[in-house]
């Protein structure tokens, strides 16, 4: 900041000097031009006084003119055609051959004009007074700019302090954020040009902090989810390797390890799917997808699980949406397998597909125990399970609905969970219509 204001002061100085020089030069040129006009006019007046009387040149200068031209400051001279001086003032006799026009010589400005009969009239005047004027002008201008600069100095200091405060605050806040402390710019304290910047920065900080918080939550969730399978793997292998075991015991140990490893694999895959959908990198192709065919495919895949639990699945209606077939399949598969898994024995699952105005709907209803209001609100959170205890055997890893929600969001749709009468839960999905796009 200090360097910046020094530079500004230097520039102001250079600018002032240039202005003063230009002004002085212009004034000098103007004054000399005016003097030239005066000198020429006087020379002409002089030449008008030259008359030829009887073949001789007669110069009859009025006294008034002579006294005006013959002073400390001025001189005049009249030469004949041979260059001989016919008349002139005493103190400053010009020497050398007269040249028509104007010239500056030894501190005098001189004008020459041809007179009658080959005569030459020379009038000169000292430039001292103009020099004095120019000097005076330059000095007063320099003084004025100095005063302006001096007056502006506190202003720049104040400005500098003002900007410095804003920048210091931005600097301080950014530092605090780097250290992981929640900090924001105080926009009430920044009301200059930085106010807009501060607002934008605050928004950026908000976004960053939100992303960081989500990241931290995810890391903590993931590590939490991985802890039990890892603990089981470590305990099981420690036991198996702790002493000599029978072949049967080794087989059982390996089965446990395999089961836990598969659980971790599932977790990893689901997390990856979720991350990809949320990041929008999983193929965001938009193709017409026939929901009826998709639902029937999914039902076919889930048949073994359903018949094991005696659950009957029915599909009603049809509609076409526009979307990513792979993602939509994950969505429907998650919803239907949940409906089967969390159903009562010998329960029913109903998949209802329908068209609304410019939307298609897909409802998956089950006849399970249902969810209460609080559970229905939290059901889409990552790693949320209706039963807080988690067992690798009796359920998923708690990411299915989070993934489903991410898919629906990526397709510009909505998903809600609601109770159905007399008993059960429904997941209602709304997606953009795709029938017109074929």
């Amino acid at each position: 900041m200090r360097r910046l204001s020094l530079r500004a002061a230097a520039w102001a100085g250079v600018l002032g000097l240039t202005l003063v020089t230009l002004a002085a030069w212009q004034y000098w040129r103007f004054s000399v031009g005016t003097l030239d006009q005066t000198l020429l006019a006087e020379a002409r007046v002089l030449s008008d006084q030259i008359a030829e009387v009887d073949g001789r040149l007669d110069i009859a200068l009025p006294l008034e003119l002579r006294t005006r031209l013959d002073t400390d400051e001025s001189y005049y001279a009249i030469f004949d055609a041979t260059g001989q001086r016919l008349d002139g003032s005493a103190p400053h006799p010009p020497d050398g051959a007269p040249i028509p026009g104007r010239r500056t010589r030894a501190g005098y400005r001189e004008a020459m004009t041809p007179g009658p009969r080959g005569t030459t009239v020379v009038v000169g005047r000292s430039l001292d007074s103009i020099r004095r004027d120019v000097r005076r002008l330059a000095i007063s201008l320099l003084g004025a700019s100095l005063i302006v600069i001096l007056l502006a100095l506190p202003l720049t200091v104040w400005l500098r302090r003002q900007l410095g405060q804003s920048i210091a605050q931005i600097d301080e806040t950014a530092r605090a954020l780097t250290l992981g402390q929640p900090a924001r710019l105080d926009t009430a304290r920044i009301d200059d040009e930085f106010a807009g910047v501060a607002r934008v920065l605050n928004q950026a900080f908000d976004g960053l902090e939100g992303a960081l918080a989500r990241e931290r939550q995810l890391t903590s969730d993931v590590s939490h989810e991985l802890r039990t399978p890892v603990a089981t793997l470590v305990a099981e292998t420690d036991w198996a390797l702790g002493a000599s075991r029978t072949a049967d015991e080794y087989r059982r140990s390996l089965m446990v390890c395999g089961r836990q490893a598969r659980r971790m694999k599932e977790l990893t895959e689901s997390l990856l799917t979720l991350a990809r959908i949320e990041a929008g990198t999983l193929a965001t192709r938009r193709k017409p997808v026939d929901l009826r065919t998709l639902a029937e495919d999914v039902v076919k895949d889930l048949m073994p699980l359903a018949s094991e639990r005696g659950v009957t699945i029915a599909v009603q209606g049809e509609a076409t949406t526009l979307g990513d077939p792979v993602q939509l399949r994950i969505l429907v598969s998650n919803l239907v397998s949940n409906a089967v898994r969390y159903n009562r024995r010998d329960g029913d699952v109903l998949i209802r597909i329908g068209s609304l105005e410019r939307h298609v709907s897909l409802d998956v209803e089950d006849t399970g125990p249902g969810l209460n209001q609080e559970q229905a609100e939290r059901v889409f959170s990552r790693f949320w399970r209706a039963d807080p205890s988690r067992s690798a055997r009796d359920g998923g890893i708690g990411l299915g609905l989070a993934i489903s929600k991410a898919v629906v969001t990526a397709h510009g749709g909505t998903i809600v969970c609601r109770p159905v009468e007399p008993q059960g839960t429904a997941f209602s999905v709304n997606l953009p219509d795709g029938s017109g796009a074929c």
């Binding site: 802890r227 603990a231 036991w239 205890s389 988690r390």
Partner: protein, 218 residues
């Protein structure tokens, strides 16, 4: 030493049971909080290993119920939460110790031993009864600097009596703590093991209080 493991993840519970059994503990397992609490209240365990995420009754509730009763049993908590406030809350709620999943089994076993030992008022892992040194960590017995070979069952009997030294331990308590409910035990196996120990370590190491039980370091 009889330990109750309350852990809903069946694979982990089973691995823990076998690990602890190999380390010389008698282990009962429960897969939910309600059953675990009932077992812990019905049986006199030397230690309860308690998971926090439990179906039916959360681990923290089980701990609170246990601490609401007059009889003290050491509780070691298995937790997946490693944040300081969580750990502080656990200890303040009456947990004696905790391990964070994933834990090192060897460390868990050491902590189990230490908890049992400390709850009986012993600091050292080596219990000294006269000239006999019982190393509860190495599971060895030395007498006058010489290793005395004993069977695991003999060791467990002597270890239990030594931890509860100067107290007459009834035969029923011994049977319950050493062999648990699962094993079919005959009361006279105790006489067999005590006889064997007397032969190896000298007649006065374990004394019989007829009609009451056994005592060490009377």
């Amino acid at each position: 030493m009889r330990v109750l493991v309350v852990e809903d993840e069946e694979d982990l519970a089973s691995a823990l049971q076998r690990l602890l059994q190999d380390a010389g503990f008698t282990v009962d397992v429960s897969h939910d909080g309600e059953d675990g609490l009932w077992l812990a209240l019905e049986t006199t365990y030397d230690l309860v290993v308690l998971d926090l995420m439990l179906p039916r009754l959360q681990g923290e509730r089980v701990l609170a119920e246990l601490r609401a009763r007059p009889r003290y049993v050491p509780v070691l908590v298995l937790t997946a939460r490693d944040a300081v406030p969580d750990r502080v809350r656990l200890l303040d709620a009456g947990a004696d110790d905790y391990v964070i999943k994933p834990f090192e089994p060897a460390e868990l076993i050491s902590r189990c031993r230490a908890l049992i030992r400390r709850s009986a008022g012993h600091g050292s892992a080596v219990l000294v009864i006269g000239t006999v040194e019982i190393d509860t960590a190495q599971r060895t017995i030395r007498q006058a600097g010489m290793n005395v070979p004993v069977t695991p069952r003999e060791f467990r009997l002597l270890e239990y009596l030594a931890i509860h030294r100067r107290r007459v331990v009834p035969r029923g308590e011994l049977l319950e703590h050493l062999y648990g409910n699962s094993e079919e035990t005959l009361s006279n196996v105790l006489d067999v093991f005590v006889g064997s120990l007397r032969r190896k370590l000298g007649a006065d190491v374990v004394q019989t209080r007829r009609g009451h039980g056994y005592i060490v370091d009377a």
